[in-house]
């Protein structure tokens, strides 16, 4: 690839050309502006010629923004040009690799950047080819399954990518969202931006909500835009973790109303019978089997005798008997 160092007019750079931007646009360039004011532009931006006699940025989007805001008329730039035998596609691929390499050699790419990078590389390369160039371009060895996952997530909306880069959406739930229509996926994005849940709980919420939506023949949006979900999401007194816990419980209850009710009734009855402390009664899993189990803890003979006495009383208790269908 040809490189020439020039000072070009800031106005000759097309700000709408975003092909090689990997991260999210950063609007806070104040510190960078100060630094450029003090020391000048240490690293020139990298550009390539684009139609209408303009340049498109390959590297240095923030630097360009800062220089523009400073009101400078010109900016130092490295201008990339294709080798003789390259067509436009090959040139695009090399510029893309250049942009990714430049970023990944500074620090490991975050999820958002990886998504952008792999999404664009897949226009040129297959999974194995991306894996092969990964040490040099990504500064890390990407395995094929990771590359495939990122390709699968290529259709995720900007909102969901931002959530991923801020750690509010994990890869596995994001993969689930990449398989459903964007409009639905964005509903989950909006919910997850307000609550905090582990990856597996996010997956559960997505799975159960989609099942409720199919069962009740109503869009996912309708589930979360109604009370009591809306109330919880808007409750300023609850922290995101508490909101997440409540939302997960409510979705499970909506999906499995009878099972939830049976569990709640059992737990409540056990509590009122004093069977939730040192004496514990456990029902069959999901109330499916036939075997109940009873355990108790004691530290002395008198505690042991007191447990036995309690158990003896229980067998004649009507409330206790009603626990067993």
């Amino acid at each position: 690839m040809h490189k020439s160092y020039e000072t070009v007019p800031v106005g000759s750079i097309d700000p709408a050309y975003q092909r090689y931007r990997l991260g999210q646009p950063s609007f806070d360039v104040e510190n960078l502006k100060d630094a450029i004011n003090r020391s000048g532009l240490i690293h020139p931006v990298v550009v390539k010629p684009v139609p209408e006699g303009k340049y498109g940025l390959v590297v240095g989007f923030r630097r360009y923004d800062a220089v523009k805001k400073l009101g400078h008329s010109h900016i130092d730039a490295i201008i990339l040009g294709p080798d003789e035998e390259w067509d436009e596609k090959k040139f695009d691929l090399e510029c893309l690799k250049f942009a990714i390499t430049e970023r990944s050699c500074q620090r490991p790419l975050d999820v958002f950047e990886l998504l952008c990078a792999i999404e664009r590389l897949k226009d040129h390369l297959d999974v194995q080819e991306i894996v092969a160039i990964s040490p040099a371009v990504f500064n890390q060895v990407l395995n094929p399954s990771i590359v495939r996952q990122y390709i699968r997530m290529a259709g995720l909306s900007e909102n969901l990518r931002v959530l991923m880069s801020t750690g509010r959406l994990s890869v596995k739930p994001a993969l689930m969202l990449s398989d459903i229509p964007t409009e639905q996926a964005d509903v989950f994005g909006a919910v997850f931006s307000k609550i905090s849940l582990s990856s597996s709980n996010q997956k559960d919420v997505i799975q159960l909500s989609l099942e409720i939506s199919s069962r009740d023949k109503k869009p996912v949006k309708q589930i979360f835009s109604n009370d009591p979900f809306l109330q919880i999401l808007k409750d300023d007194h609850l922290d995101p973790r508490a909101k997440g816990k409540k939302i997960k419980e409510m979705i499970a209850e909506l999906r499995f109303p009878h099972l939830t009710q049976a569990r709640n009734t059992f737990t409540k009855t056990c509590r009122s019978l004093g069977l939730s402390g040192r004496i514990q009664l456990t029902p069959p899993k999901n109330f499916e089997g036939l075997d109940y189990s009873l355990s108790f803890q004691f530290q002395s003979l008198s505690e042991f005798e007191s447990c036995l006495k309690k158990l003896d009383q229980l067998s004649g208790d009507e409330q206790f008997r009603r626990l067993f269908p």
Binding site: I212, K217, F256, H258, A262, N286, F287, E288, G289, L290
Partner: protein
């Protein structure tokens, strides 16, 4: 049955049975040396399961021809004996376990009527009653219009009094069986469901009315009958609709002709869910209140199953108290709550069914314990 591609194992000899099959299908058979060629053809389809429903492989059964139904220890099994005459099915029910059971699914016809005779003979001479059926890995009567096998089996069973043959179906393919001297040793059994479930989940099957009309014809021809409410699906209004199925059964046939009626709610291996979601986009059958059962299959939360069973069984028993009703793969609690008893001893349910088979089909009573 619409077969677009017909393969035949090169080791299968061309005899009357095979010629009849090929002649009925009107599709030129492609001889294959290796079953992998057939698998490749099926797997090349965008939906291999659908392609498998239009592909038939005529071959020999190289595995067990007669075997016990596997059942599970956690739930009560009917101790049925399986006659393995073919695999898979040309109809397309959303909930069908065969979609997930074979890898890949493949519709096979096991030729060799002589092989069936030789494997069944020991059972015909055994010292106990056997209930033998072909409906475990395929629908028993999808084959009737194109094959000699069903009528051969009816004739074969007619000549003995130790075993009863149960042909289980969702079709109305009984025409060639009506004139046979079956000697009541064949039970024609229909899987039944509410018209709503048949219409929405059982593509390519006969309607409930058609099935019951066929049952009426079979009864008129002297056949004994059975009905299987399986899989019963829980949805708003299901109890009334299943009770209506009960009414319709007894509007068509006399309870005295019915050897047994079984009931089982929808249950499935967890990985079937993905297949249903992919192949039956509008089906909501997987979104009931399912929990993981003791046999690692998803099944409805027990109180919901019990409610449906209780209401359907009590309704049925009012109409026909003498008909033997049993549950397929249920536990003591379900049995006692709906039927008031539990066949707790080993093989007790099997013995109840044997007794009913003996009474209805004229089996040798000295074989009963």
């Amino acid at each position: 049955m619409k077969i677009k591609t017909l393969f035949i194992d090169y080791e299968v000899p061309r005899d009357e049975e095979v010629d009849f099959l090929i002649g009925s299908l009107k599709t030129p058979p492609q001889p294959v040396q290796d079953i992998r060629e057939v698998y490749e053809h099926v797997n090349a389809g965008q939906d291999p399961i659908l392609r498998a429903k239009h592909t038939l492989f005529i071959t020999r059964n190289r595995g067990a021809v007669v075997k016990k139904c596997p059942g599970t220890s956690e739930y009560t099994c009917c101790d049925y004996t399986i006659l393995h005459t073919g695999t898979f099915c040309s109809m397309d029910c959303s909930y069908c376990i065969l979609q997930a059971y074979f890898h890949p699914p493949l519709m096979q016809y096991f030729s060799g009527l002589d092989q069936l005779t030789s494997h069944l003979n020991p059972y015909f001479k055994g010292n106990q009653v056997y209930r033998i059926g072909t409906g475990e890995f395929t629908d028993s009567l999808i084959w009737e219009p194109i094959s000699l096998q069903p009528r051969f089996l009816v004739n074969l069973f007619a000549r003995q009094d130790h075993c009863v043959l149960e042909l289980k179906t969702k079709t109305v393919n009984i025409e060639s069986l009506l004139e046979l001297e079956h000697n009541q040793k064949t039970i024609l059994a229909w899987s039944v469901n509410s018209p709503r479930i048949i219409q929405s989940q059982e593509r390519g099957t006969a309607s409930l009315k058609q099935r019951l009309e066929a049952a009426k014809k079979a009864e008129a021809a002297g056949y004994r009958l059975a009905f299987h409410f399986d899989p019963m699906v829980i949805y708003d209004g299901c109890i009334t609709e299943y009770q209506d199925v009960v009414d319709q059964i007894f509007a068509h046939v006399d309870p005295k002709s019915i050897a047994w009626i079984s009931m089982g709610t929808f249950r499935f291996m967890p990985h079937l869910k993905v297949i249903i979601e992919n192949r039956f986009k509008s089906s909501d059958i997987c979104y009931g209140e399912f929990i993981l059962g003791l046999d690692n299959k998803m099944r409805y939360f027990k109180p919901l199953r019990m409610e449906l069973y209780n209401q359907t069984v009590s309704y049925l028993k009012k109409r026909a108290p003498q008909v033997l009703v049993y549950f397929c793969m249920e536990d003591k609690q379900v049995w006692e709550s709906s039927l008031g008893f539990f066949p707790s001893d080993e093989n007790e349910l099997g013995r109840l069914l044997d007794r009913s088979a003996a009474q209805h089909c004229g089996l040798d009573p000295s074989l009963l314990p």
